[in-house]
Symmetry: C2
DNA sequence: GGGAATGCATGCAGAAAAGCAATTATTGCA
DNA sequence: TGCAATAATTGCTTTTCTGCATGCATTCCC
């Protein structure tokens, strides 16, 4: 209802969602693989790194919300990432209860390595598409990423009424 | 080199791979969330169910290759899925060493629930795209899924020289 | 027929993830 | 000032995921 499509066509067609769904599975597979082979970085850990890379100020609570896990689990997740030298905990100046989590140099490097790996796999897939298909995919995926990104901010994920917490 | 693009343009452009990469992260996030809320199905477990849903004959070895894990890990994964009533083990007729793994009714139902959840989230995102963007996305994503699917068959993933096992 | 290879399972072990309850420190508000 | 709310952590428990080595049954091939 909040979207960019007119009110007389308020619901995205099923086949569009289907296409996203199928592509989603393929991309998840690629993502899981790019992680599996790499040096001991798990999916929750990588998702945390991605979050840190994209936001200026991320707290432990933000991580818990973004990954939809218990705050204590987020603390433990950070423990492991700190132990690996991938992130740093910094006490917030504004509110001394808060701990800001930042990407450490090692974390940035690790993201780099995983990303290179994933790019390689994606390039292998892209290589099997025609130029036209690829151009269309790029345009579409940019739009998709923008739309997803607008919802992916910590302020929205998890407690936004647009995505009811547990209705399924 | 094996792809559908002409030889004079053999490598997919970086920005295309970039778009896939960014979209990949967004979709992984959606996928992880659709799992987190649901009933105790982990990512490896769901990936297994997806594999079973898409192939006619899947063996334990196939699962190990598809998920890039040790055969014994695949056995344990199946143990847990059997215990949950999501899959069934059936001794192969052709080769009595082989165990075929099939989706149980409960597994199909579980996939259904997770998929409904994921579709809901994807629809929320699609709702923020224009009709044109969405139409382009469907076309492109189908092509992408086809290209990925061609590589995702058990025969290719894991030991196809196109995706060197550990070069990163 | 007999050894090699294949497919799967089991014993063993370690790491990761996740939740709940309880605690500490800090902040906000009446 | 004092009490409630918030942020993060810690202790504890359980489940899952993963690999390696080993063993067992079956199949393949010389």
């Amino acid at each position: 209802m909040n979207g960019r499509r007119p009110a007389w066509n308020a619901t995205p067609p099923d086949d569009a969602v289907d296409a996203l769904l199928v592509a989603s599975r393929a991309l998840v597979s690629v993502a899981a693989r790019s992680l599996a082979g790499d040096e001991e970085i798990t999916l929750p850990q990588f998702r945390t790194l991605v979050l840190l890379a994209g936001e200026v100020r991320v707290t432990v609570t933000d991580i818990a919300h973004a990954l939809d896990i218990h705050p204590s689990s987020a603390t433990r997740l950070c423990d492991r990432l700190v132990r690996k030298g991938l992130i740093e905990r910094i006490a917030s100046q504004d509110d001394r209860r808060v701990v800001e989590v930042h990407l450490a140099p090692g974390g940035r490097a690790a993201m780099e390595r995983v990303t290179v790996r994933r790019r390689r796999d994606l390039a292998t897939i892209a290589d099997r598409m025609t130029d036209d298909e690829l151009a269309g995919a790029v345009k579409a995926l940019h739009a998709f990423a923008d739309a997803a990104g607008a919802l992916a901010t910590p302020d929205l994920w998890g407690w936004d009424p647009r995505l009811p917490e547990d209705s399924g």
